[in-house]
Amino acid sequence: MKINFILMKINITKYISRIFLVGVLLFGSGCSKFLDEQDPSNLTPDNFYKIPEHAEAAIAAVYSSSRFMGDGAGIFSSNWQLLEAVTGTSTTETAQNSDLNNLYGLVYDSNTGHVINYWNGIYRVIAQANLVLDNVPGITPMDEAQKKRILGEARFLRAWAYFYAVRLWGDVPLITKSQTLESEDFFPKRASVESVYALIVEDLIAAENAGLPWMNKNGRVTLAAAKSELAIVYLTMAGQPLNKGASHYKLAADKANEVITYAKANPASIDLFPTYAEVHKETLKNEKEHIFMLQYNSVVAGNPMDNMYPNFKPVTFNGASGTGSTVPTLEFYNSYETGDLRAKDREGYFYSSYFTNGNGALFQLGAPYIFKHFNTIANGSSGVAGTRNNNLNVPVIRYAEILLVYAEAQNEVGGPTSDAYDAFKRIRDRAQLVTPAMGTYNQSTFREAVWRERWHELCYEQITWFDMVRLRKVFNETTKGFDNFVGHVNQSSDQPLQSKHLLFPIPRPEMQNNPNLTPQNPGYQ
């Protein structure tokens, strides 16, 4: 070393030499590993994916990422509002979040936070799933059934994520391998809608054959979930934009019917809850009506639907704390048939009065709010203090939807059959509505009746928007009929839907970070 050499030269005096030697010993040796680093608090891919427990941890990361829709989207807002604000069935009591305002006003663009967050969240789920699918097969020894199950769950979750992507943006990058900087598709192009659906169907069929149990209260993907999701996917493929038509209505009806058949045989396992209160009761997670849910528990994350609380009105133990950034439009609330139990205060999917601070005196809210995601156990109920921990799950697939999928698809295949009518009627029966006799419907009137039921039964579950897009029809709250998508005026904003709204813009930052990601969807910059 340079220093030693110079020291040597000037090392002329005896007494110095000793000190110098000490110096050399201290500083001149043993530094080759000094700059190596290894992170003691994080794993690397090299020391992971070795044993079955790693596979379980890897799939847990996919489940964890699936909660992206509940994450925040700026002040007073959550990502899921992307799929509510644009439907026209809800509005806001606060103007705090300009991205959300832009969604309500249908003037969102490629910089709108919710759009960006959905893109990022979806591809994070896909990437986590790809890590599982790439690495878990290589883990040996490992119980084959366990391995198959985990891979099946990963494929379901990947398909579930791609299903959002393809419906939101149309052609989207199709990534099926975990990524490194060297990956060929690190800067991917857009893949056709057709090819994305092909992967979704393939993944769901794989999940169907992964040996999953029909139902499972632990919240993991089940066979019922795989079949139900497949039914919904087929129904969507039958409509816009693929327009597969009859073949896929048939596939959808058959797949939904598999679930219905099982449910009829095992009503203790899958069935509608007799009351709407049970739909949002935290002790009834992942069972009966709830075929697939996003899992929430306050030890990890509490229920993310609190933007449905009224704006600073004391309906929970927490006093006046809500934001009211998703509240029903009066027009939509008033569109329920007279006597529909779903519109009944605190019994159906709405409430217009509640107990002060959750369990005090009943007070009037002045307007209807969404009760569907309201956790009475956590927030409090008449005379019973809330537990304060909102462990309510977010429903993704309910049996009610599968009944309606079947009714709709079967009707398209061959008109209203008695099975289709029965499925449809079950939804109305629970709402304590009188359903006209089967003979009063033809294919066309039954179709609209089922759609209407979808609007009223599945509202505020991030489903309605996708119905609007696949049907290119929108429920008109005044006429109770259906308008064409383009030109329908959303009651929440008085703004008409345009054809560009059939797809969301691809996030602008993503397009700037990936030059291959062109073109932008029509109508957006």
């Binding site: 340079k2 220093i3 020291l7 000037i10 110095i16 110096g23 000094f34 700059l35 190596d36 680093e37 992170d39 003691p40 608090s41 994080n42 794993l43 690397t44 891919p45 992971f48 941890a57 890897a58 990361a61 996919v62 489940y63 700026g74 002040i75 509005t91 705090q96 300009s98 991205d99 832009n102 309500y104 006003g105 969102y108 663009d109 986590q128 790809n130 890590l131 990534i175 490194t180 690190f186 632990n218 899992q295 929430y296 528990n297 030890v299 990890v300 994350a301 600073f312 927490n318 006093g319 009066l330 009037q364 002045g366 304060r388 921990n389 008085d494 703004q495 930052p509 700037q512 970070n513």
Partner: protein, 1055 residues
């Protein structure tokens, strides 16, 4: 001239005070060689201890004793001896025959301080020999306004250094930027070096830094290295400038005791925003209710707002009489603040003989903050010793320990926010002792009153710092020395937090305990070689090697659900809900080789070349080492014959430097491919830990490079009565360490990469003048000004970077965009409020107000693209928090024993983005508002920027816009100090050496734009206070701890 390396520690010793005593007798021996003796005295004929004497021929040296006496051996009578002492002009004179003792009278080098020795990296240099840009602050200046941390004390002291104290809390953190920003994702903080030991950066709690725990009273001088020639010796840690701190040491002479004490009281400072009183608020609320009908006619008709009628709300007999009139009109600022006595005591002992010197000091500071319950308590102790063991060996060391405890009430923005938003008609407590909170009032935003919050919350930060260093200095031969410094810095912090059951309603009480420890050590070993060859040539060489290592770990635990508030954070086991634990460990290492050569030709032409090779653990396998060179030249024009005898110009130096420095302040392991095990999944209703996506590897990761060129002029006129130092610089950062965004389709967010560049260019000037100087009266002025322009030249991708600065509610507030200044403010342009005449035009707009038609009385924005929709396309850059120019003006007057210092701090051209406009002006009724809402739009008052008052639930408009941007230019009465130093005759009767008493007022006044509410020096508090967020949020106002005016009484006693 050579550095007087042998004297440096003495020359830099604890005190410059002259000791009065009679001249002693003179020893004299006639031998082969001549022993010259004598006394060195100051301009008042008082002896000066510690003056360096050196023979130019033999390099032999001596130093004066406590009584100013010296003795040195010379070879002949013609041998030239130089006498040097800080603050005095060096003198050279012939040794003489030695037959009679010499008396050397030193002449102060006023203003220019040509002969000042300044500390530079790994050594010292005479100011006149410097080729780089170095600013100095002396202990006396620091003492003018005692502060709890060095950074606060540096405000306005040095050109090119921007110090913003952004919190009025005792110990409130300050932002220090030297010559602008150099980085986006790495630190922009300078490197601190205390007595040769580099401090670690960054891991401390609450964005504090290791330097915050050094007692400013222990500091004798601070040097700020600004240009590349000065900083390149610190290589990869030098890019943000370097602050060298030298602490006090003992010096040869009579032992001394110093006792400094000050007492102070904080009061509410200037420009605190005005809020509505009870009557005004209730009137605003009535109007807000009434206007709901206009702003949401459909909802009004449907009965949506019937329950909102304020008449229904004013029923609480504790608050209102039968007619709804309020009983209380509370001034929450008064309720939240206190004016308690703070005190600071410093006791120091120092002394030594010719061989050994020592100093030790103890200090105790007890600051009671302006806001109730906030405090800072510090106990500190420090010991240093230096011993000339052998003629060729000197050893010494310093050990200091600090124990600091603080209650960080501005850890959350809620305290400062509640002062503004608490309803004035509420008392602090009801008669039953229960706190009255906004949330008790129907339909208000669920706030807790500020006193309730202060009393039921604690956020205590306890820090113990042990900083020590040992050195040995071996003189091999005359001129060649080796210095070895072993340094250690151990910072242990414990952070205990709790919020009570009535505050943390959902958790039923929350408590957390966190500990963190950073242990840093370094070994530095360097050779210094001084040689003067003849009249014309001299060189100083430096060659060194360094190892540094830092180990960091933290453990945290938190729990909720307490049956009582009794335990606070002292029994986490008593919490029953959702306990969480976490820990983290990391280490980093740096190995360096460095060298410097100074060459002086005829003492007129000075050259410096510096280089450092740094190896860092944090960088990619392929790029562990890098080299940082710099070079500088200087020309002392005033030494040329044509200027030497000038009566006007006493000093003129031109200098220029160029070099490269680095920035390696990124977290460790950034180059590795990692998985995260922090994915919490819920399976079967329990927490299951998931492992997945975290970070992409980048084996090529390396440092940021900042290339800096600097041209400087130093001018002294009229014997130093006027001195000017002027620098121009250009800094360009390349290979910027960016969290470069990657396509999110990969599942990853960013990769840490060296990509992108930005520049800073600027001018800085410091002017010191002695305007009047007589025996009884002197008047001195110092003025400095700095200008800096920052611009982003390139980024990883064309994508703008958002999500920086903060707080980002409503929509992004800051942007990083190519071609613009880093962290510019981003938003809409508010044109005003729609007028009645514009009703039709307003209605054309896509609603930006809850889906309701835009009406006269709603905010009117500039619709940039004319599409009648107000969205992202209409946003643009609307301001920047960096000033165009800033600095300070200080005037010092002395009349006999009385002195007066008036120090003004100023800043021009920075914008303030007042985020509080959103909550306190753009919306009403949810909480109290600023008094500005009294100027809201009405049909009779249409020419205003403030929308018509209405209950927010009927639809309101709020967006980051130009109305939130205020001119942040200001002049601050930083310090006014009046002091009296007792005359020697009086002092001696009291058997003292020195006695001084002073009173001062800090932050006495503020001259600023009328529109601005609050203090222009601000950054957001609360969850937005972390350094990563704060880099670009200077000037963003979101409820910071109000800055007090502090009145102080102090006493300095020396004996």
């Amino acid at each position: 001239m050579l550095c007087l390396t042998g004297f440096q520690s003495l020359a830099h010793s604890a005190d410059y005070k002259k000791i009065s005593s009679g001249m002693g007798s003179v020893a004299f021996f006639q031998t082969q060689k001549i022993i010259v003796t004598g006394t060195v005295v100051d301009e008042n004929s008082r002896p000066i201890p510690g003056v360096g004497i050196k023979s130019l021929k033999t390099n032999k040296s001596a130093v004066t004793s406590a009584s100013g006496k010296f003795s040195i051996e010379v070879e002949n009578a013609n041998e030239q001896l130089t006498f040097s002492y800080i603050g005095y002009a060096s003198q050279t004179r012939a040794a003489g025959s030695g037959t009679s003792p010499l008396t050397i009278k030193m002449v102060p080098a006023e203003g220019v301080e040509l002969e000042d020795v300044v500390v530079i990296g790994y050594g010292t240099s005479k100011k006149s020999d410097l080729t780089g840009a170095v600013g100095t602050v002396k202990a006396e200046q620091l003492q003018e306004r005692p502060a709890s941390s060095l950074n606060q004390a540096l405000t306005g002291r040095i050109s090119g250094v921007q110090v913003n104290t952004n919190s009025g809390r005792p110990g409130g953190r300050a932002n220090v930027r030297i010559r602008g920003f150099s980085s986006i994702n790495s630190s922009n903080n300078p490197l601190y070096v205390v007595d040769g030991v580099q401090l670690p950066m960054g891991n401390q709690a609450q964005a504090s830094q290791a330097i915050d725990y050094i007692n400013p009273n222990d500091i004798i001088s601070v040097e700020v290295l600004k240009d590349a020639s000065s900083t390149a010796i610190y290589g990869s840690r030098g890019a943000n400038g370097v602050i060298l701190v030298t602490t006090k040491r003992g010096k040869t002479g009579e032992s001394k005791i110093d006792y400094n004490v000050d007492f102070s009281v904080p009061t509410v400072g200037p420009n605190f925003p005005k809020v509505l009183n009870a009557k005004e608020f209730l009137a605003v609320e009535d109007l807000a209710y009434k206007n709901m009908e206009k702003y949401d006619p459909a909802g009004w008709a449907a009965g949506k707002y019937v329950t909102r009628n304020p008449a229904l709300a004013r029923k609480d007999p504790r608050l209102f009489d039968g007619s709804g009139n309020p009983y209380f009109d509370t001034n929450w600022l008064e309720e939240a603040t206190q004016h308690k006595l703070s005190q600071n005591h410093e006791l120091g002992f120092s002394g030594g003989n010719e061989r050994t010197t020592y100093s030790f000091s103890v200090g105790h500071r007890n600051d009671q903050g302006l806001i109730k319950t906030s405090f800072l308590k510090r106990y500190s102790g420090r010991f240093s010793i230096d011993d000339q063991v052998k003629t060729w060996l000197k050893v010494g060391g310093t050990l200091s320990y600090t124990n600091q405890n603080e209650n960080l009430v501005d850890q959350s923005d809620q305290v400062a926010r509640s002062i503004v938003e608490d309803f004035p008609f509420l008392p602090v407590q009801y008669s039953d002792g229960k706190y009255a909170d906004n949330r008790d009032y129907p339909n208000a935003e669920g706030r807790f009153n500020v006193v309730h919050r202060l009393n039921d919350t604690k956020f205590l930060l306890g820090t113990q710092t042990t900083l020590g260093s040992l050195y040995s200095n071996i003189k091999f031969v005359e001129g060649l020395e080796m210095k070895t410094i072993i340094g250690a810095n151990i910072i242990s912090q414990e952070n205990n937090e709790y919020s009570g059951r009535t505050l943390n309603i959902s958790d039923q009480g929350y408590a957390a305990g966190r500990t963190r420890k950073e242990a840093f050590w370094s070994i530095e070993n360097f050779l210094t070689y001084n040689k003067r060859f003849n009249e014309n040539h001299s060189i100083t060489g430096l060659l060194g090697i360094s190892w540094q290592k830092s180990n960091f770990n933290n453990i945290s635990s938190e729990v909720r659900g307490f049956a009582t508030d009794y335990f606070e954070f002292n029994n986490l086991g008593a919490g029953s809900l959702n306990p969480q634990v976490g820990s983290n460990k990391s280490s980093q290492a740096l190995n360096s080789y460095f060298g410097r050569i100074n060459y002086s030709l005829k003492d007129k032409y000075l050259f410096t070349a510096t280089g450092r090779a740094d190896g860092s653990s944090k960088f990619g396998k392929n790029n562990k080492y890098a080299f940082f060179p710099s070079a500088a030249i200087a020309w002392r024009v005033s030494e040329e014959d044509f200027l030497k005898d000038s009566k006007v110009i006493s000093n003129l130096k031109l200098r220029s430097s160029f070099g490269v420095t680095g920035n390696s302040e990124i977290p460790p392991y950034s180059s590795l491919s990692l998985l995260s095990s922090n994915f919490g999944a819920v399976i079967n209703d329990v927490r299951v830990v998931g492992t997945g996506i975290n970070r992409l590897a980048n084996l090529d990761l390396r440092w940021e490079k900042t290339t800096q060129s600097d041209v400087g002029v130093e001018l002294g006129m009229f014997g130093g009565k006027i001195s000017l130092e002027l620098d121009l610089y250009y800094r360009k950062t390349t290979d910027m360490l960016l969290d470069a965004p990657v396509p999110r389709t990969s599942g990853y967010v960013t990769i840490r990469k060296n990509i992108g560049s930005m520049e800073n260019k600027g001018i800085e000037a410091a002017l010191n003048t002695t305007n009047f100087d007589s025996e009884n009266f002197t008047w001195k002025t110092s003025f400095n000004i700095s200008l800096n322009r920052n611009k982003i030249l390139s980024l990883a991708t064309p994508a703008d970077i958002f999500g920086i600065g903060g707080p980002n509610f409503t929509n992004p507030t800051n942007i990083i965009r190519v071609g613009e200044a880093a962290g510019s403010f981003w938003g809409l342009t508010r044109l005003g409020v729609w007028s009645e005449a514009e009703r039709a035009e307003a209605a054309k707009f896509v609603s930006y107000r809850n889906g309701n038609t835009i009406l006269p009385g709603d905010i009117k924005y500039l619709d940039v693209n004319g599409d009648h929709a107000i969205n992202d396309a209409d946003r643009s850059i609307i301001g920047n928090g960096s000033p165009d120019a800033w600095g300070a003006l200080s005037n010092n007057f002395r009349y006999k024993n009385l002195d007066l210092t008036v120090e003004l701090q100023y800043s021009v051209g920075a914008d303030v983005m007042d985020m509080t406009t959103h909550s306190s002006e753009d919306r009403q009724s949810l909480a109290n508002s600023y008094a500005t809402v009294l100027n809201a739009w009405t049909p009779q008052n249409q020419n205003t920027q403030i929308a018509e008052i209405r209950d927010t639930r009927a639809g309101y408009v709020t967006n980051v816009d130009t109305h939130w941007i205020k001119d942040g230019s200001f002049i601050r009465g930083r310090n006014v100090l009046l002091g009296y130093t007792f005359a020697n005759s009086v002092v001696q009767k009291m058997r003292l050496n020195r006695l001084r008493v002073y009173v001062s007022a800090q932050n006495l006044f503020l001259i600023t734009s009328k529109e601005l509410q609050g203090d222009p020096e601000t950054t957001p508090t609360g969850g937005y206070a972390n350094d990563g967020n704060n880099v670009f949020s200077q000037g963003m106002n979101w409820h910071s701890y109000p800055r007090p005016t502090i009145f102080m009484l102090g006493l300095n006693i020396g004996l």
